[in-house]
């Protein structure tokens, strides 16, 4: 006997689809751009600590010889995350919010005072969660505060994001679970004063890129990608004197004009220098004159692609790109560039 429901629903689909009028991808992009613009006003974000790997849990465990139902297991994991936060950060005053990880989760901490705040999150179970915090002061008025990717684990470690709120407002935290975590992991998140965690930044050593710098390099790369420059190169700023970077086209000895598109996200300024270097058999033979020297103001709010630079590359030459971050930018800003034929 045929399944009449198959036919009924197929008819519904056939009858409805012609009447659907998609607003279109341009409308999606306009909305996305509008939201990006409104999420960036004055902000200073410091990622103080990123966290932990851990065991990935697969399948459902047995408890007392019985298989634990998914919903019950997730409830257990929510409790685990809750306890981890309470145990590891007992001084954090805020009441934790907890629940199952969702693909588009969001929690709100209303009425937060201005000043330094710490956001702590623990995730129990498989997968990982992308955390993005923003300060919301009213309709259409929000500020990106920072973000991080937190790994979930059977024995979760609390990840702490520290930021400064320039004005009072609500902190809205997007919690985006990856497919492994969505529906299978539990989170607990709390917010408190910036000095309540007892955790100090231990990641900002001289040769270790701080999460904030990595985050900003990703932001800068996203701007370039959105501007049509695919596969940009991300650069962090943990060293006082940035290392020289030899870029590809010259080393393949392809002469011609190249467009350098560069975006810097975060605080401070970069001193950018581009030189041509002669190459021989694919190796750097000699450094040539500077073809570009300029200051690049990094943007913490709404980094954008401004003017690009046109560089001419002689035969058998490559480009050497050097950027020196100032004190403010060092290991906080991140930048990205794209070099392609004009």
């Amino acid at each position: 006997m045929p399944d009449h429901f198959e036919e009924l629903f197929a008819d519904l689909r056939v009858a409805t689809i012609p009447q659907v009028r998609p607003p279109g991808v341009d409308a999606v992009r306009r909305t996305a751009r509008r939201r990006r613009r409104t999420t960036r006003t004055a902000a200073a974000a410091v990622v103080a600590l990123a966290v932990t790997g851990g065991l990935v849990v697969t399948g459902f465990p047995l408890r007392g010889g019985h298989r634990v139902a998914p919903a019950e297991r997730v409830r257990d994991l929510v409790g685990t995350a809750d306890r981890a936060l309470g145990t590891q950060l007992p001084d954090l005053a805020g009441q934790p919010l907890s629940g199952p990880v969702a693909a588009d989760g969001e929690v709100t901490f209303p009425d937060q005072p201005a000043g330094s705040r710490s956001l702590a999150l623990a995730c129990a179970g498989p997968g990982q969660v992308t955390v993005e915090a923003q300060l919301v002061r009213g309709a259409g008025d929000s500020t990106a505060l920072g973000g991080s990717v937190v790994s979930c684990a059977t024995a979760p470690q609390a990840a702490v994001l520290t930021f400064r709120l320039p004005v009072p407002g609500s902190v809205v935290v997007a919690l985006v679970g990856d497919p492994a975590a969505t529906g299978s992991a539990g989170y607990a998140v709390a917010i408190g004063a910036g000095d309540e965690t007892g955790i100090r930044d231990e990641t900002g050593g001289p040769d270790v890129p701080a999460p904030e710098s990595t985050w900003n390099a990703d932001r800068a790369a996203d701007v370039l990608t959105a501007a049509g420059r695919s596969a940009p190169t991300r650069v962090t700023t943990e060293q006082v004197l940035s290392a020289m970077h030899f870029t590809g086209p010259g080393l393949r000895t392809t002469p011609g004009d190249y467009e350098l598109a560069l975006v810097c996200a975060g605080p401070g300024t970069l001193t950018l220098t581009v030189r041509t270097v002669s190459t021989s058999n694919g190796e750097i033979a000699d450094s040539g004159p500077a073809v570009l020297e300029r200051q690049v103001e990094c943007a913490d709010e709404d980094p954008r692609l401004g003017e690009t630079d046109l560089l001419s590359l002689p035969r058998n030459f490559g480009f050497m790109i050097t950027a020196v971050p100032d004190d403010e930018a060092r290991n906080r800003a991140g930048w990205a560039y794209h070099l392609g034929p004009e």
């Binding site: 429901f5 008819d11 990608t225």
Partner: protein, 192 residues
């Protein structure tokens, strides 16, 4: 200074779809917007609201496209977000949807739904939400029982029970003579 150079590859957001390469956002939108809208329409009975929610889900996907495009099944993520938007009372405060609605330009008028379509959607509207979701996911999203169970975070047996009850209720409303719920359930079990 740490440098992370990526191998050149098409921009996944705007590039053309290539077998084995990340699917482009545009292609995904073109291929799935209407189908997702039909699913939510069957759930809500309101086509415009369904369109708004699906559009919002795609907006969220674009905002995280670098992450979402890396998933094995980006559509599953978008579908889940759309359904979360649909079932979440909090999100049905309609802030985002209301915003989209205000942004909407004058849209072409379309013919109203036919009587069969109205009857099915009306009958679906009388089902408990979980039963309704199960039917829509089964028959319009073509998900397996296991996939529905995963999305709804319940056991597979629960989904089978929902589907059985939903079919019985729909059959009673739409014309009991046309339907054999028990037979359909047996087919369901065999297919799953």
């Amino acid at each position: 200074m740490g440098v992370t150079a990526e191998a050149p590859e098409p921009d996944p957001e705007v590039g053309a779809a290539v077998p084995g390469a990340p699917v482009s956002f545009d292609d995904l939108y073109a291929a799935h917007y209407a189908d997702l809208t039909v699913q939510l329409f069957a759930y809500f009975g309101d086509q415009q609201e369904a369109q708004d929610l699906v559009q919002e889900a795609f907006c969220r996907a674009l905002a995280r496209w670098r992450t979402v495009s890396g998933y094995d099944d980006p559509v599953a993520w978008i579908r889940r977000v759309a359904w979360n938007l649909a079932v979440s009372r909090w999100r049905r405060g309609r802030t985002a949807v209301g915003f989209l609605r205000r942004q909407r330009v004058a849209e072409p008028q379309v013919a109203g739904p036919g009587p069969e379509r109205v009857a099915l959607v009306s009958a679906l509207g009388t089902l408990p939400p979980a039963h309704r979701r199960a039917m829509v996911l089964r028959y319009l999203a073509d998900l397996t029982i296991a996939e529905i169970a995963e999305q709804e975070e319940v056991a597979e047996g629960t989904v089978k029970s929902w589907l059985h009850r939903a079919r019985s209720a729909l059959a009673a409303q739409l014309g009991p003579d046309q339907f054999d719920s028990a037979e359909t359930t047996a087919q369901e079990v065999r297919r799953a």
